[in-house]
Symmetry: C2
C-alpha cells in the first residue's frame, strides 16, 4: 500500500500543484533556478500540500485558490530543509546531494531565502487576515526552533519536554498549519479549522517520532541518508532519551561525537535497539495518533475525512 | 546638519519604533536574542521606518498601526544585512563585529531568518491585501538580487544596466516599498502611494550610488569598515564601471582579487579617484534625486512633504 493511494481522488489536483511548484521556482537567474530545481526534483511526499487540499475539502474547495496555499506550504518546508542542510553539514537529502554540497553554504542560504519569499508571494492570494497571522506566527516559532536545535545538540541532559517542543516546532507546527490554512481558505468555521489544526499537530508529532525511530531501525537505502545519523550529529531524539535511562548505555551515548568511528557507532545502535527505547517511542507515537483520530470524530463524514484518517493510520505503520 | 534634524517632529514616534524593535527581537532563546541585539545595538539610520512614518503622514496617521510597518521594514533590512555578511565574509558592520564574525555562519543564517519571520508577524497588523502583495513581490526581487550579486562578482564585463538592476534590488526597492507601505497603511489613494513608491525608488538609487562613491572617497573611520572594500570584494560599482572606460586602468582593475596587497589596492584607488569616475557617478545620483523631487511636486504641501524633500536633498550632499 502506497501513501498516495490514500488520496488518489486528488491525483489531478496534486499534479497541478507539482506543475505550479516548478513555475514557482522558475527564475531568470540560472544559479537560483538550478539550485531550486535540484531540490524540487529530489521529490518528497508533498504531504503538506496533501493536507492543505484535504482540509480545504471540508469547506468551499476551489483548486485555483487552494493550490497556491499548497505550493506556499511546500515551498516553506523546502526552504527550511535547505537552511537545515547548511546547519547539519548534510551531504545527502532524499538520496540526492544537498544544495550546500553541490554548490556551497552561501547559495544554499539564498536559495532558501528565495523559496521562502516565493511562498509568501503565493500566500497573498488568500485575503483573510487570520491566515497571514497563523502563518507568520508559526514561522517565527519555526525559526526559534531552528536555532534552539543548534543549542540542544549533544546536550544529553535534556528532558522529554525539550524534545517534544523541538519536534513540535520542527515538524508538527507546519503540518498543523497546512491543515488549518487549507480549512481557512475553504472558509470553514473557526471550530473546524482549529480542530484540523489540532489534528495536524498530533499527526505531525507522531510523524516526527516515527522518523526518529526509523533513523535507528531503517537502512541507508530506504532513508536516502546514512542510518543512525541523528545521534552521530548530536540530535537527541526520543529513542536516545529512553536509551539514556539505561545506566550501561547512558555513559556511552554521552560520549558520542561527530568523528566517532563507524564501527563504534554501529555497535552502540545495535545495543540501543536491544533496549525498550524503540517500543516506548512507538507507544508515544501511537498515543499522538489516537488523539489525531479523536479530533477527526468531530467532522461530518466525507471522502476527505476518510483520507485524513487513512493517512494518520498509515503514518502509524510506515516503515520508510 | 544631521539627518535626524530633518524630521525632528517625529522624534517621539521614532523612539517608539526603537522601543518596539527591541521588543520584536526579544526571545527566550538566549543565542537568538544576543545575536539580534548585537546587530540592533550597532544602530543605523533607521531610514526605512522614517520613510514609512513620513509617507503615512500623507494619509490617516495612527502611530499604533504604522509603527508596526516601520518595525517590519527595519527588520527585513536587518535580516538582509545579516545574510549579506555571511556572503561577504564581512567582519565589521556599522563599526561593530558582524554576527557571523562574533558567532558563525549558521547563527547568522538563522538570526536573519528569525528577524525576517518577526517582520512578517508585525506586518499582519495591516489587513489590506495589496500591502502584502507589494511586500512579498519586493522580497522575491530582493532575494533574486542577492544571488545575482554573487554571480556578478569580479565580472568586469558587466554593463551599467546590470549595475542599476543590482542596486535597484539591493537598496532602492526596500526604500520604495517603505514609502509605499507607509502610504497604503495611511489609506491614501493608489495615485499617491504609487507616487511615493517612485519617490522612494529614485531616492534609493541615489542613496546607493552615493554609498558606492563614499566607499572610494571616505575613510575607514567614517564608514565603519575599510574603504575601497567594495572593489576588493569584486563588487563592480558605478565608479568602477566608469573607471573601466580608461584603457590604462581597465587592465589593472580586471586583475583585482581578494588577496591583493593593501598597497597595490591603495594605489589603484588613488588612480581611480584621479579619473572622472566619481564626478560622473555623482551626476547620475543627482539625476535620480531630481526625479525624486519631481515626484514630490504632485503632493499637497505638508510638514511630511518638506521632510521628504529635505532628506532627498541631504542624501545628495551626504559625506558619510
Amino acid at each position: 500500500m502506497k501513501l498516495k493511494m490514500l488520496y488518489s481522488f486528488l491525483k489531478t489536483d496534486i499534479e497541478e500543484i507539482e506543475k505550479e511548484l516548478n513555475l514557482a521556482i522558475d527564475s531568470d537567474t540560472t544559479l537560483l533556478k538550478e539550485a531550486s530545481l535540484h531540490l524540487l526534483q529530489a521529490g518528497g511526499k508533498r504531504i503538506r500540500p496533501v493536507f492543505v487540499l484535504l482540509a480545504a475539502k471540508t469547506g468551499e474547495y476551489d483548486i485555483h485558490v487552494i493550490k497556491n496555499v499548497g505550493v506556499a506550504l511546500e515551498l516553506i518546508h523546502m526552504a527550511s530543509l535547505v537552511h537545515d542542510d547548511v546547519i547539519d553539514n548534510a551531504e545527502l537529502r532524499r538520496g540526492r546531494t544537498t544544495i550546500k554540497a553541490e554548490w556551497d553554504n552561501q547559495v544554499a542560504m539564498y536559495t532558501g531565502d528565495y523559496m521562502f519569499a516565493r511562498a509568501l508571494d503565493y500566500m497573498t492570494i488568500i485575503e483573510q487576515p487570520i491566515a497571514h497571522k497563523i502563518l507568520s506566527n508559526s514561522i517565527v516559532e519555526l525559526c526559534i526552533g531552528e536555532i534552539a536545535q543548534i543549542q540542544d545538540k549533544y546536550r544529553f541532559d535534556q528532558t522529554l519536554r525539550d524534545y517534544l517542543r523541538r519536534i513540535r516546532r520542527k515538524t508538527a507546527l507546519l503540518i498543523a498549519v497546512s491543515c488549518q490554512l487549507g480549512a481557512v481558505a475553504g472558509k470553514v468555521s473557526p471550530d473546524i479549522h482549529e480542530r484540523l489544526y489540532r489534528f495536524g499537530y498530533y499527526v505531525g508529532m507522531a510523524y516526527q517520532i516515527t522518523d526518529d525511530i526509523l533513523d535507528f531501525t531503517s537502512t541507508e537505502d530506504k532513508l536516502g541518508k546514512p542510518a543512525g545519523g541523528d545521534l552521530l550529529q548530536g540530535n537527541v531524539t526520543l529513542p536516545v532519551l529512553y536509551a539514556l535511562k539505561e545506566p550501561d548505555l547512558a555513559d556511552r551515548i554521552k560520549h558520542v561525537h561527530e568523528d566517532m568511528p563507524t564501527n563504534d557507532m554501529a555497535m552502540l545502535i545495535t545495543d540501543i535497539l536491544q533496549t525498550n527505547a524503540i517500543k516506548k517511542s512507538s507507544e508515544l507515537s501511537q498515543r499522538y495518533l489516537k488523539k489525531a483520530l479523536h479530533e477527526l470524530d468531530g467532522l461530518p463524514p466525507s471522502r476527505a475525512k476518510k483520507s485524513l484518517r487513512d493517512i494518520a493510520l498509515f503514518i502509524g505503520k510506515r516503515k520508510y
